[in-house]
């Protein structure tokens, strides 16, 4: 028996989760050791490999979801390019082996994309390398996927994992992966997150010395791969994994059901959307609609998004929700989310500055574009518009005026549109104190900012953590007041901050009479399970 102590490799968490199991080590290579044939044989080998890869990718594309299908579509289009193999043919006729000739075909394009600053192009370079390696693997007769025994909890350890490789792996046999390369913003990281496969990237370790089947703990929460874990480590993680798995299993049973408390009270469970692109992969039946869509992501480029761009994003969400309400928050820039050319420079205290609806009202040129896009998308289904950082009723009056104006304009132009419901975020204590005095259709309590403003503690200041307390009686009193004001005026009140997703705080909110929450997609099952346990 080896008495060696455990080996801990640091990694960056790309997709959260815990796995305890044997490692399956792959050492994907670019360099290859084929035996070279005559030019005719080499050309035949290459065209065969390309054809096999086409068939493989087409097979994958048939079952892939939208995001994966996009990657595959680009790869297939490249293989369909008639002139693609011309330089390879020339090289082979000049004496080059098929693999070398093939690597050079995509080499320039990969180099050009890799050299880009833009993250987007670098991610596409990874997709191109994936294609290069797929054909190489086919050339070497190695286009099969790594295998682990059925029912095992194997952890794949590799240098890189490409999107197509990820998609064809049987993830019932592998429970997680750790890569020495990769990035948390890659396609593979997105795929892993959307499928709940724990993934570590940028692993700080040497794979060449790692034997197969060594037991390991993949801690994709703290960012460790622990090889040959000591008894204590293994026991602790084994328990955590088992507890987590059992918990997830119990929670999953609630996912497709409407949420109801043990006392039979129906609770509306909405979803927060950060990335509209990721929504397509989710089942709208798992939620009662979208309670918060952050639109800041639209404003991250060098220029502000135009009306059509915004409309397409909003319309896609309304279509996805198939009749369920879709709440879209108007631009919440400022605070800790500055946008160049839009938010003011040099504010002493950005959290108390020109942010949220204050900024939108100060920039009607930008705001009007967003309102037009929203009013147009409202013609397609129940779309709700929500304003952040509202402080006084006059702000809502101004938003309504602007909204009426853009709707009049759109009607004059003959463009389809509808008046959406208009609601407000309750984050500012002044608004919470007199919520009933605002002419809105609904309220959504932004608990993160509300706690920050009520307790006068910055969200990101660890030294003040004990004061930054969502359970503070003053915070709870304000939330209770908003819930009451909503009930009195028959307006929906939801909580869309982190508080709603925490099993620790959610029962308190339900106890205050709250009947709607909005949480991240990954938290839906847990939240529904917590609600089911609530006795009231």
């Amino acid at each position: 028996m080896s008495r060696k102590t455990e080996l801990r490799w640091r990694g960056t968490v790309a997709s959260r989760g815990l796995v305890l199991g044997p490692v399956v080590v792959r050492r994907s290579t670019e360099g290859t050791a084929r035996r070279q044939g005559t030019p005719d044989e080499e050309w035949q080998a290459l065209t065969d490999a390309v054809e096999r890869t086409q068939q493989r990718l087409q097979g994958l594309a048939e079952t892939a979801d939208e995001m994966a299908a996009e990657v595959l579509e680009v790869q297939l289009a490249i293989l369909d390019d008639e002139g693609l193999l011309d330089p390879a043919r020339e090289a082979i006729e000049g004496g080059a082996p098929a693999d070398r000739a093939w690597v050079d075909v995509l080499g320039d394009l990969i180099a050009v994309y890799e050299a880009e600053e833009d993250e987007y192009f670098r991610a596409r370079a990874a997709d191109l390398k994936d294609l290069r390696d797929s054909v190489l693997a086919a050339l070497n007769g190695a286009d099969e996927v790594p295998v682990a025994t059925e029912g095992s909890t194997a952890i794949l350890v590799d240098r890189e994992l490409t999107p197509s490789r990820f998609l064809e792996m049987d993830w019932t046999r592998f429970r997680g992966a750790a890569l020495t390369g990769g990035s948390a913003t890659s396609h593979v990281a997105m795929l892993a997150r959307s499928r709940g496969i724990p993934l570590l990237v940028g692993l700080d370790g040497d794979l060449s010395a790692l034997p197969q089947a060594v037991e390991a703990v993949l801690d994709a929460e703290e960012g460790w791969l622990v090889l040959k874990p000591e008894e204590a480590t293994r026991a602790a993680f084994g328990q955590a994994v088992a507890a987590r798995a059992k918990e997830a299993e119990q929670q999953a049973a609630y996912l497709a059901q409407p949420a109801e408390t043990a006392g039979g009270r129906r609770i509306t469970v909405l979803m927060n959307v950060d990335d509209p692109g990721a929504v397509e992969a989710l089942d709208p039946g798992h939620c009662d609609g979208i309670g918060l869509t952050r639109t800041e992501f639209l404003f991250t480029g060098s220029s502000l998004p135009d009306e059509t761009t915004q409309y397409q994003v909003y319309a896609a969400l309304v279509r996805w929700a198939s009749g369920r309400p879709v709440t879209i928050r108007t631009l919440d820039a400022g605070g800790d989310k500055p946008i160049a050319g839009l938010t003011p420079d040099g504010e002493m205290n950005t959290f108390l500055g020109v942010r949220g609806i204050r900024l939108s009202l100060a920039r009607p040129d930008v705001f009007r574009v967003q309102l037009r896009a929203l009013a147009r998308a409202a013609a397609l289904g129940p779309l709700k518009v929500m304003c952040p950082m509202v402080t006084v009723p006059e702000e809502i009056v101004q938003v309504r005026e602007l909204l009426s104006q853009v709707i009049m304009d759109l009607r004059t132009e003959g463009t389809a549109c509808a008046m959406p419901q208009l609601g407000m975020m309750v984050e500012v204590p002044a608004a919470a104190l007199r919520a009933g005095g605002f002419a809105v259709d609904f309220y959504s309590i932004g608990s993160n900012d509300l706690v920050q403003y009520v307790t006068a503690t910055a969200r990101d200041n660890g030294a003040l953590a004990p004061l930054h307390n969502p359970r503070d009686p003053a915070v709870l009193e304000l939330i209770g007041r908003v819930v009451k004001a909503g009930a009195a005026a028959d307006r929906e009140v939801s909580v869309c901050g982190d508080m709603a997703a925490e099993p620790e705080f959610l029962p308190i909110l339900l106890g205050l009479g709250l009947s709607a929450v909005s949480v991240a997609p990954a938290a839906l099952a847990r939240v529904k399970a917590t609600i089911a346990r609530f006795d009231g």
Partner: protein, 106 residues
């Protein structure tokens, strides 16, 4: 929004040309390149394109070549086609660029 675009056809020699401005913030990236070349392949005419006045002409039906151009937002994409359906080809390609490739800005 897309900029101006024009198409013109001289019916005698069956040639056509047109141009449009790339407006997507990432520029002509992978997926739009695929859409563009797929559309180009639907026409029998030979079609070439270039980005900017100094750009080299490349085959509009080759996705690898189109992707390698890395056309940036704001650059003018010029098309030239020769063949019996050259007019339709250029009109369709210019329209695709002007519709921003039917893509959201993602």
């Amino acid at each position: 929004m897309s900029g101006i675009a024009k198409t013109m056809e001289t019916s005698e020699d069956r040639q056509a040309a047109g141009e449009a401005v790339i407006s997507h913030k990432i520029g002509l990236h992978a997926r739009p390149s695929v859409k563009l070349t797929k559309l180009a392949k639907q026409f029998r005419s030979a079609i070439r394109l270039r980005a900017g006045e100094d750009g080299a002409w490349i085959d509009a039906k080759s996705v690898v070549k189109v992707m390698a151009l890395k056309v940036k937002a704001g650059q003018v994409l010029a098309f030239e086609a020769a063949g019996e359906d050259s007019g339709e080809a250029v009109t369709a390609l210019v329209a695709l660029v002007e519709r921003n490739f039917d893509e959201p800005q993602d």
